[in-house]
Each structure stands twice: as structure tokens, then as C-alpha cells.
């Protein structure tokens, strides 16, 4: 009951913070039987909440013991039967690694009941461009269960990649990609001597396959821009509201391919690689200065299409303005208080979203109760108070979607006006984008051909 209630509240809060949450490969998570989900950890509590809210089956989270110091979190940990692990580096903060045997036993018991556990083997949430070293806890839980229950229902190890467009930004996109499950009983039969380290390596390899990892921060931008160009394929961006759902799995596959290609080029043609990377970075700087996305360079500039765009967006903006205004005005006090609290309490990039969700729920609920009570008192009617109460979440949802759409429309309009006034500049940028795109494609073809030749024949 508490789990369902909290799940509903968190779903609402995640809907409020993220513009979009895409889930891919949900079918890889068995609907029944013991499951151990292992994922990368880049957005603190949000990572766990995505697991809790995007799967239909109940999920048990594992957390570090020091979270119990926060009384609100301590209550949640108790209510949701979260399993606490005591890390050695937290001993100074009261962690007791001796209690981990009990935590492992609790995990084993949960799996024996056919439960689903989610764990983040990096052990800490971070903002690094690549995965941090994996701890062996997940592997130990899995092996302890498999060895103790050799003939029980097979334990499915499901790797997951968590993706964030810009994790600290309000109304950005997020995604979960569940990878193919590994039957750990079968794996154990095939690897009877394997220890926790071997299984940890397998877990890391699977998660690495579902996430984008870069050597340095500056590579993130270079690869992201190159991937954006390749994804846009030099075609006009889809109309607003008709954008396909972000395909994080395909994006990761593309980035991996780019990384493979880069390594291949670095082996014998470093000069060519550096020149290409500099061109991509230079192009990225130019479009960023203009405030446009690479795909928007290819925005259609014909007057009839622009007129239809203005008509379609104006209709939506005008018709939606009253509901937007109602939703926005009524949510403004709670939003302002939450925002102030989040800015005050967030020190790292991976705290913003978590703090917004955890602080936002009580703040919005409190303001909701206060505002409805005020309307009931002023109107002197419970009926009107009920109508007002119903209107708040509805108009709030409209206000969020309206804000996203208005932002997109403003961006497109600004890009159109910018390029309409500077057509030569646009032509130069488009030519540069097309030239980079052509070189990337040519290199990709060459790389594919080389990869197809057996090493001995090269």
C-alpha cells in the first residue's frame, strides 16, 4: 500500500521534473522470479526512482547506510524495506561493515521470495564521463544466492543503462535501457570456479555496453556533436510535437561505433583524427554561440511552411494560455519554495534532480492543502474547493507541457528569424556541417571495410 502510494507520488514528481522518460528493453526484465538489476549510477536517488517507477513489478533498492541520518529518508527506508549496505569508507560516519552479512542475507531472502533487487555496483553516484570502478557487492549477492539455491528458479541478472540528457536541468529527458538478461544459474554451471571478481567483470562489461563512456570531459562534447550530426543525417528536424522518442540504445551504439572508429584512426592517422576532432569542436562552438542545435541548421526556410508553423503554434499557445496561466499561477508558490530549497541544498550536479523530487513532493502537497483550504474558506463551498483541487494537477500538467512546447516553438522561431536575416551565414554553416558529415560517413565506410578484412590479410 505504502509502496504503491509512494510509487504514484514519485511518478508524478518525475513527470514534473523530466520532460520525457523513455524506457527501452522493458521486456528483458522477467515479470516473475528472482531478478537482480545492475545499473550505472549518475543521478543519485533518481536512478533508484526510475527503477521503482518504470517497472510494473515491485523493486527492492539497496542504499548506503549513511542515508539513514536523514530522518525523512530513514522513514522511507523502513517503509519500503530498502536494504542498507555499510561501506568501509563510511565508517567515520557510523557505518558498520560487520552488518553487511545481514544485508547480504536480506538480499538472498528477497531473491528466494522471487523478488527483484536493484543495485548500483559503482557504489556511489557521480558525474564522471565514464563508469567508476565496480565493487563486488552485486556479484557477491548473486553468487551467494545461486550457490545456496542451485535448483531454485533461475536468477536473472539484468544490466541497465541510465541516461540523462542534462541531469541537472529541469524538463530535460531521461532514459532507461534494460539489456539482455543473463541466466546466472546457467552462467554458474558453465563457470563453477568463477569468483565474485569474474562476475563483477561480466556485470561491468554488460553495463559498459549500455552506457556511453569517455576518456575525458571534452570528448563528451565532441562525440555528442558528431553523433548529433550523424543522427540528423542532414535532414530537416521533425515538426514540433512529432519528434520520435529518443532512442538511447541506438545513441549509445552510435557512440560506441564512433569510439571504435576513433581508436582505429588514432592507430595510424592521428593527424587526420586531430584535424577532424578540431573541425567538430569548432563547428560545435559556432552553433552553440548561435544558440541552435545542429539539426536546426537544416530547418526548412520556405515561407508557406513557416506560415503553417506559426498558425499551428499560435493556435496552441492562444488556446492553452488560460489553462497555462491557471496552472502556473497556482503552482508558482510551491515551485518557488522548492527551487529555493533545491538551490540551497544542491552542491553537485547529481543532487539537483533528486533534491527537486524529494523536496518537491512535501512542498507541493503542503501548498496544495493550504490553497484548497483557502479556496474552501473564501468560497464557503466544498463543491468549489473540490473543483479547484481537481483543477490543480490538471492545469499543472498543462502548464508543464505548455512550457516545453512554448520553449521549443520559441527556439524554432528564433532560429528561423536568425537564419532568414543571415542566409549566407546559414549556408556556410550548412556547408560545414555537410562536409563534416561526408567525411564522417567516408571514414565510417573505410572503417567498416577494414573491420571486415581478417587481421592476417591486412
Amino acid at each position: 500500500m505504502i509502496y504503491r502510494l509512494m510509487r504514484a507520488l514519485w511518478r508524478a514528481a518525475l513527470f514534473g521534473f523530466f520532460r520525457r522518460i523513455e524506457v527501452q528493453g522493458r521486456g528483458n526484465v522477467p515479470a516473475r522470479g528472482p531478478v537482480l538489476i545492475v545499473a550505472n549510477h549518475t543521478n543519485a536517488f533518481i536512478d533508484g526512482l526510475l527503477m521503482l517507477t518504470r517497472l510494473d513489478r515491485p523493486v527492492t533498492l539497496t542504499v548506503k547506510s549513511t542515508l539513514r541520518k536523514n530522518p525523512l529518508l530513514a522513514a522511507l527506508i523502513r517503509a519500503l524495506h530498502v536494504i542498507e549496505f555499510h561501506r568501509s569508507q563510511d565508517v567515520a560516519e557510523g557505518a558498520d561493515p560487520a552488518k553487511n552479512d545481514a544485508a547480504l542475507a536480506a538480499c538472498a531472502a528477497r531473491l528466494a521470495e522471487g523478488g527483484c533487487i536493484a543495485i548500483f555496483p559503482e557504489g556511489v553516484s557521480h558525474s564522471d564521463p565514464r563508469l567508476r570502478p565496480f565493487r563486488s557487492g552485486a556479484a557477491r549477492i548473486a553468487l551467494a544466492y545461486v550457490d545456496a539455491h542451485p535448483s531454485a528458479a533461475p536468477l536473472a541478472l539484468v544490466p541497465a543503462g541510465l541516461h540523462f540528457e542534462a541531469k541537472e536541468r529541469f524538463r530535460s529527458a531521461a532514459g532507461v535501457v534494460f539489456g539482455e538478461a543473463v541466466d546466472l544459474h546457467a552462467w554458474r554451471r558453465a563457470n563453477p570456479q568463477a569468483d565474485a571478481r569474474a562476475l563483477t567483470e561480466l556485470i561491468e562489461q554488460r553495463i559498459r555496453g549500455l552506457t556511453a563512456n569517455f576518456e575525458a570531459e571534452r570528448d563528451v562534447e565532441t562525440f555528442a556533436r558528431a553523433a548529433e550530426l550523424l543522427e540528423s543525417a542532414g535532414a530537416p528536424p521533425p515538426p514540433l510535437g512529432q519528434e520520435p522518442a529518443p532512442d538511447f540504445a541506438a545513441q549509445v551504439a552510435l557512440l560506441h561505433r564512433l569510439q571504435e572508429g576513433r581508436d582505429w584512426l588514432a592507430r595510424g592517422r592521428r593527424g587526420e583524427l586531430e584535424a577532424l576532432e578540431e573541425r567538430v569542436r569548432g563547428f560545435a562552438r559556432k552553433v552553440r554561440r548561435l544558440g541552435v542545435a545542429p539539426a536546426e541548421l537544416f530547418l526548412p526556410m520556405e515561407a508557406p511552411r513557416a506560415a503553417f508553423f506559426v498558425f499551428r503554434e499560435a493556435e496552441l499557445m492562444i488556446a492553452g494560455a488560460p489553462l497555462f496561466a491557471w496552472g502556473w499561477i497556482n503552482a508558482l508558490p510551491a515551485y518557488a519554495v522548492t527551487r529555493a530549497l533545491v538551490m540551497k541544498t544542491s552542491k553537485d550536479r547529481d543532487h539537483f534532480a533528486s533534491n527537486a523530487v524529494f523536496l518537491g513532493i512535501p512542498v507541493f502537497l503542503l501548498f496544495f492543502v493550504l490553497q484548497v483550504a483557502a479556496v474552501a474558506a473564501v468560497a464557503g463551498s466544498l463543491g468549489w474547493a473540490a473543483v479547484y483541487a481537481l483543477s490543480l494537477p490538471y492545469a499543472g500538467a498543462v502548464a508543464l507541457l505548455y512550457r516545453d512546447r512554448a520553449g521549443g516553438a520559441w527556439r524554432r522561431l528564433r532560429t528561423f528569424v536568425l537564419f532568414a536575416g543571415r542566409p549566407a551565414h546559414r549556408r556556410r554553416l550548412v556547408a560545414e556541417a555537410e562536409s563534416i558529415l561526408a567525411d564522417l560517413r567516408a571514414l565510417a565506410e573505410e572503417f567498416e571495410r577494414t573491420a571486415a578484412v581478417p587481421p592476417g590479410d591486412r
Binding site: G241, Q242, A319, L323, Y394, L401, Y402
Partner: protein, 293 residues
């Protein structure tokens, strides 16, 4: 030649109407002119459907289907009373009373007609036309071909099924059937006068069952909701709810008309989705077979 589902629905209703009018004319009803008009529309639309074939996403098909349906909307309501020898108002009023355990919903909402709500609801009732026309325009011009086809198919299915109601259950609504039972006049203003005048211009109340005001606006909203435009759906959903209330308060529809409209709108969305996916799958199979050959 594979018939497009939107063409099939349109040809179906035109055939049913023409056949019904032919039977009525044979039975002595003075509907020769109407029969000629509808037979002409049937022939013209059959020609359009034949010329378009199975072409995907044709804007011309959308325009032709809308033109036929809007023409039928104005012609059918009145000929139906002459074409079939019964009037459905007493049955619909009885069904309405059964819905509310013996009390007429039209009379239950009567107090609202004497307040400022009547004018607000008249405004909402009048907003149906711009909402529908803009939805049609956005669907015909601003959507990918497959979605456009789905919209036109759903629209054709909704109107075709609704016209079966207009034709075989002709009714003028509570404003005529319960005229003697209402105790207060509708206290409207400028918008109410516009609504009354526009209803009079199409020959007075007719075609009560089902409510196309509710059916068509709900269909447009559900379609937006299904096709990645939840914002537009959420913005207009309150308007659809108010249009539904307006049809009751302004006495043009029975509550059962609204229920039927709800069912038909859901059905139209579902049927259109199924028909277009089946058609696309069949086209893909044919393409694969041709490629293999």
C-alpha cells in the same frame, strides 16, 4: 484494387442513405430531389475513390470525405423524418429517464439554463465549429501521411455510424420533445442568439442521436492524445466536457445521445487505428513480395 477504409466508410453511408431514400420514394415519399442529390454524391465520391485508389495520405481524400460528411450533416437530418415512418424522440426520452432512475436529465440540468452558465455554455457550443475545423486542417496538412489517413478514416467511421442514427432514429431533441415540460426559458446572451440562429439556418433541431458535437470533438481530442500531442488534447478536453454539458443545458440532446457519442468516438479511434495498421502491414507484405520477386 484495395479500397481505402475511409472511402469504404463513406461509400457505405452514401449507399445506405441512397438505398433508404430509394425505398422511401418507391413507397410514395416526396423525396425524389434528395434521392437524386444523394445518388449524385455517391457516384461522385465513387469516382474520387476510384481515381485515388489505395494511395496513402492523400489530402484530396480527406477533403472529399469531409465534404461528403458535412453535406450529409445538413441534408440528412430533415429527409430522415420523411424517409422513415417513425420518430425516435419518445424512445430516446424514455431511455434518458431510465438512465436517471425516472428523472429526465434534460429537466435535471434545467436550473443551469436560467443562470449565466447558459451564455458560457452557448459560447462553448459555438466553439465546436472552430475547434473541429482547425483540428481537421491540422490533421490534413500537418501530419505524416499514415496519421492523416488514420484521422480521415476515424472521422469517416464516426460520421458514417452517427448518420445511421440520424437516418434510422430521427429525433429533434428535448427542445421539441419536452418543450411543454421545461419551466424556465434559456437565459442566454449574444452567443446563445448566435447558436439559436445557426440552428434555425439549418432548418431547426434535428439529428439528435447521437451527438456529433460531442462525438467529433471527443474524437479530435482522443486522436491528439494518441498521436503525440497530449498538450492539445489536455487543452481542449475541458472544452469537450463543456460542449457535452452545453448540448444538455441548451436542450439539443438527450443524455443517451452523449453516451452514444462517447462510445462512437472511442470506436472510431480504435477502428481507424486497426484499419490503417492492417492496411500498412498488408502494403509492407506486398512490398516485400514484390522486392523478393
Amino acid at each position: 484494387m484495395r479500397l481505402h477504409p475511409a472511402d469504404a466508410a463513406t461509400l457505405f453511408i452514401l449507399t445506405v442513405v441512397t438505398a433508404t431514400l430509394a425505398v422511401a420514394v418507391l413507397a410514395g415519399a416526396p423525396l425524389g430531389g434528395s434521392l437524386a442529390l444523394h445518388a449524385g454524391m455517391l457516384a461522385a465520391f465513387a469516382l474520387v475513390a476510384w481515381r485515388l485508389g489505395a494511395r496513402e495520405g492523400a489530402v484530396v481524400r480527406g477533403i472529399a470525405v469531409m465534404a461528403v460528411m458535412f453535406t450529409l450533416y445538413t441534408t440528412l437530418g430533415h429527409v430522415a423524418f420523411a424517409a422513415v415512418p417513425w420518430v425516435a424522440d419518445p424512445w430516446l426520452a424514455a431511455a434518458d429517464r431510465a438512465l436517471l432512475l425516472g428523472r429526465s436529465p434534460s429537466l435535471a440540468v434545467e436550473p443551469l439554463a436560467a443562470t449565466r452558465w447558459a451564455e458560457l455554455l452557448s459560447f462553448c457550443y459555438a466553439m465546436f465549429i472552430p475547434y473541429l475545423y482547425v483540428s481537421i486542417l491540422l490533421s490534413l496538412v500537418g501530419r505524416p501521411p499514415a496519421e492523416r489517413d488514420e484521422f480521415v478514416t476515424g472521422f469517416a467511421v464516426l460520421y458514417a455510424l452517427s448518420f445511421l442514427g440520424y437516418l434510422f432514429l430521427p429525433a429533434r431533441g428535448p427542445i421539441v420533445q419536452l418543450a411543454g415540460a421545461f419551466t424556465v426559458p434559456i437565459e442566454g446572451g449574444a452567443f446563445h442568439r448566435i447558436v439559436v440562429r445557426s440552428v434555425e439556418q439549418v432548418g431547426g433541431p434535428h439529428g439528435a442521436f447521437p451527438s456529433l458535437h460531442v462525438g467529433a470533438s471527443l474524437f479530435a481530442t482522443l486522436f491528439d492524445l494518441r498521436h503525440r500531442n497530449p498538450l492539445r488534447a489536455l487543452i481542449y478536453f475541458p472544452l469537450v466536457a463543456l460542449i457535452a454539458l452545453a448540448t444538455l443545458v441548451l436542450r439539443y440532446h438527450y443524455a443517451v445521445d452523449l453516451l452514444a457519442a462517447l462510445v462512437l468516438a472511442l470506436l472510431a479511434v480504435h477502428v481507424a487505428r486497426a484499419a490503417i495498421s492492417r492496411r500498412n502491414r498488408a502494403a509492407a507484405r506486398t512490398g516485400d513480395a514484390e522486392a523478393a520477386a
